[in-house]
Symmetry: C2
Subunit: 333 residues, 2 copies
């Protein structure tokens, strides 16, 4: 296996977040389920935008956030995702490249506009997301650069991508190339409702060893195994996958691997401003540790640290240097 | 004089801010003068954007920020400014209306795209601005709604607007209508380099009583009277205008009026994150007090409070309700 050009290559929906604060009753009126992600069409996107408050536009996308976080931690990242060649698409491309990430997926010249996620942040810091996939859903197997995938130590796929048929095919093509090059394939389960839509296929991806490592939070895990009993779900998980990382908000995370289970505490947080990106940045920290061969505990701590940074401000990408923060916390030399 | 429909109608450049963090040496390499605003053309805008880091897009514009701040304080605000009918123009229009501001200026269907301000925030929280005016420079006298101006207790003009000939004419038309309706006209001097370009014309606007009230910071005042001696400048100011409000950052402000001078202290600030909008929000607070007939001290305190809120986060518009903040501080019933 040749040495890797990238530590992690992420494949996901290329999305610009449109973030506004909202009261709880706004969610009720709009029939939104708090804390989850709903896929919406363009008409609904327009209606939500019309009704919501003053917004901030900032590049997002789950796997994209993860790779930007990895880059902020000093890792070498690449990203594959589809934008249109429009104002938001150019902003997305600028921002991810400015963060030091290799991003070469050609933008769509025609078709739907660049995808947007309308993020409503309630006073408790919880975020409720409504995603218009737009151009992002047109990611095709042809967009997978086989050389880049084979040259990445880990490829990282977001569960959110597992919706359009062509994106699934792109996902499977990348996983196959990665395994042929003896690389690792990681998957984030993304969202409890996403798991609910694709439970059997996600389990199949795990059981067939199409993926080697999964990231899940408690809600996603409960949805995957349709049980409210955490221990039952963890036991099932152990049989289905080599390594699983289960995040539990302020309770920290569990790293479940072939050598046992490591419980890693969360990071102290002064004030939760906006939880958008918590899971994405956890994965960024964990993967940056993994790429450097750190042990489960350090990987978990790096994940917890990156998640703690991102939930203390608006938006799903780090504001400061996570590398400096990791050094200050003794997690990096 | 009939009762007013709006407390303040602002006229200014309709701009979307593109905000990124930058190190000091980035400013040096780009030959930017820290803390100031430079007008740039589209080619330079592209070059700066290419070189700068990951950005956040958020509606801005000096007078627009002021009117949004006024609205957040419970005031009735209206805004006049020019965008193009494009993605950024629609975002600007959405955001200002979502903040409760009346905004009816028709967007340009053709011509330059919506104006952008590239804001570089250095680690000390200072902001350096580069503005591509775009559609904003095409504000014409025909865009001034005479009824709305005459129905506003105060009209507020940003000095930044005093650049294109047609915008100056729009500015003068609005001031004339306001005075005919026995309304007050306020002007912000905006920026020391802006004052340097238009010193004689600004003094003429003051001495001819085309404006009744000005807002200036120390740098702008020094530029206006070409003196480093604060007391000399204040004395000159007293002769040239009815009321002047001079902001002095952490030293608070001076309100210089016909009945004497009131020094008002600044508001406590935990951590300066981004000074963008400090002057705009000071004016918002001050004008909201003035519109309610508050005394100089309360007006100054409201200004100081609104400025303190906006410099503690990224972006030039308030994140929380300034009305609640004013109530918590005993500045509003």
């Amino acid at each position: 296996m040749p040495s890797a050009r990238y530590d992690v290559l992420g494949i996901g929906n290329a999305i610009v977040d449109v973030i506004a604060r909202a009261e709880e009753d706004f969610l009720l009126k709009q029939a939104m389920r708090k804390g989850t992600m709903a896929l919406i069409d363009e008409a609904r996107a327009e209606a939500i935008y019309e009704a919501m408050g003053s917004a901030v536009e900032v590049s997002g996308g789950s796997a994209a956030n993860t790779i930007v976080g990895l880059s902020s931690l000093g890792g070498r990242g690449a990203f594959v995702g589809k934008v249109k060649d429009d104002v938001l698409g150019r902003a997305f491309s600028h921002d991810i490249r400015a963060a030091g990430v290799a991003f070469g997926t050609p933008p769509a010249a025609a078709g739907p506009s660049t995808g947007r996620c309308y993020v409503l942040v309630t006073p408790d810091g919880e975020r409720t997301m409504n995603t218009y996939l737009g151009a992002a859903q047109d990611l095709h197997p042809a967009d997978i650069d086989a050389d880049a995938v084979a040259a990445s130590a880990i490829i990282y796929l977001e569960g959110y991508l597992w919706d359009p048929k062509n994106a699934k095919d792109a996902f499977l093509k990348a996983a196959k190339i990665a395994h042929e090059a003896e690389r690792k394939v990681a998957l984030s389960l993304s969202d409890a409702f996403c798991v609910d839509r694709w439970r059997d296929e996600f389990l199949q991806l795990m059981r067939s060893r199409t993926v080697d490592l999964i990231f899940a939070n408690e809600g996603e895990l409960q949805s995957l195994y349709q049980t409210a009993d955490f221990n039952t779900a963890v036991k099932a998980l152990r049989a289905d996958i080599d390594v699983a990382v289960v995040t539990r908000s302020e309770k920290g995370c569990l790293v479940i691997g072939p050598d046992g289970t490591e419980a890693v505490p969360a990071f102290p947080v002064e004030r939760v401003v906006d939880t958008t990106g918590a899971g994405d940045l956890f994965a960024a920290g964990f993967l940056s540790g993994l790429a450097r061969g750190a042990d489960d505990r350090i990987c978990g701590r790096l994940g917890a640290m990156a998640a703690a940074e991102v939930i203390q401000h608006l938006g799903a990408r780090p504001e400061g240097s996570l590398k400096d923060m990791a050094r200050d916390n003794g997690l990096l030399d």
